[in-house]
């Protein structure tokens, strides 16, 4: 008996499934699509949440490093540099109407003169 003989005969056999079969298959395919959509949404949310956590972690780490590096010694240096490199645009003459030397001499004279006591 040849196997091909059976195969050839039976390959041509066709039988109709019930009319509701396609509807059942379509329902299963629709459910699968919904599941895939939900899965895709879940994956997207999970990735966004993970990215947010990573971002928050690195931001916190950056702020911490910035705070630790911003100590007292560095601050004083910073202030000194600012004072030295950014002098006031106004001179003593602009402010007091006279030079620094004159002011200094006036202060010295005032210090040498005896103080006047106010009466009662």
């Amino acid at each position: 008996m040849s196997n091909n003989h059976w195969s050839e005969k039976m390959d041509g056999l066709q039988m109709s499934p019930s009319a509701t079969a396609w509807g059942k298959l379509e329902d299963q395919l629709d459910n699968q699509e919904e599941k895939q959509l939900l899965l895709a949404q879940f994956r997207l949310r999970y990735r966004m949440a993970a990215a947010s956590v990573v971002l928050i972690f690195f931001s916190a780490a950056f702020l911490l490093l910035l705070t630790l590096s911003n100590n007292q010694a560095d601050n004083s240096k910073y202030r000194q540099v600012v004072v030295e490199e950014a002098p006031s645009p106004f001179s003593a003459r602009d402010i007091y109407g006279t030079s620094v030397t004159v002011i200094y001499e006036g202060v010295q004279k005032a210090a040498l003169q005896p103080k006047e006591r106010k009466n009662g």
Binding site: M1, S7, L13, S16, Q32
Partner: protein, 182 residues
């Protein structure tokens, strides 16, 4: 055969392409399932499951020419899984496999596919499954034994018994036909 355009649409999950392929192949696939499963409702459920698996795993297939054979293999596998789930092969009887039964071609030639199907349909699940796999799908006993998780001798025994029953059935029908003619 499914054309390239329909095949590409099918891969994208297009519902109209799926319906077209279902309409074209479902009679053949349902017949394959019915050959393995006697219960019509169960056979239809298996066919639906087979189509669902095929439509959702089409990325594994590259050539539209292979679609029909690929789907047929999916259907056969689904039917075998159904039998394994229902433990249809637990109480199988091993015979002396030396007694090969010959089912002559001339007996077969007189029958239509529908008649052969009706005789196969009368066989018990174990006989029918092994007969389908060996005589129609063309698998070897070793492959059948692996697929059904049975011994090679059990597979051979089931085939012998199936052939014996088919031969007796065909001869009985022929006898009735001859007596009617006289």
């Amino acid at each position: 055969m499914v054309d390239q355009q329909t095949f590409m649409a099918l891969k994208k999950g297009d519902r109209r392409a799926q319906k077209a392929v279902y309409d074209k192949l479902s009679p053949q696939m349902y017949a394959v399932c019915r050959r393995y499963i006697a219960n019509e409702q169960d056979a239809e459920d298996i066919m639906i499951k087979g189509f669902f698996n095929a439509f959702t795993k089409l990325d594994q297939l590259d050539e539209p020419e292979a679609l029909e054979a690929w789907m047929r293999r999916i259907m056969v596998n689904e039917c075998l899984m159904y039998h394994r789930r229902n433990k249809k092969f637990k109480s199988t009887l091993e015979l002396n496999v030396a007694h090969e039964v010959i089912l002559e071609d001339h007996l077969l030639d007189q029958l239509t596919a529908q008649e052969i199907f009706s005789y196969i349909d009368e066989l018990p699940d174990g006989y029918r499954t092994v007969f389908n796999l060996y005589c129609i799908e063309g698998y070897k006993h070793r492959e059948i034994a692996d697929m059904l998780d049975i011994s090679i001798n059990t597979s051979k025994s089931q085939l012998i018994l199936a052939r014996k029953r088919l031969r007796a059935r065909i001869e009985a029908i022929n006898k009735i036909k001859r007596s009617n003619e006289q």
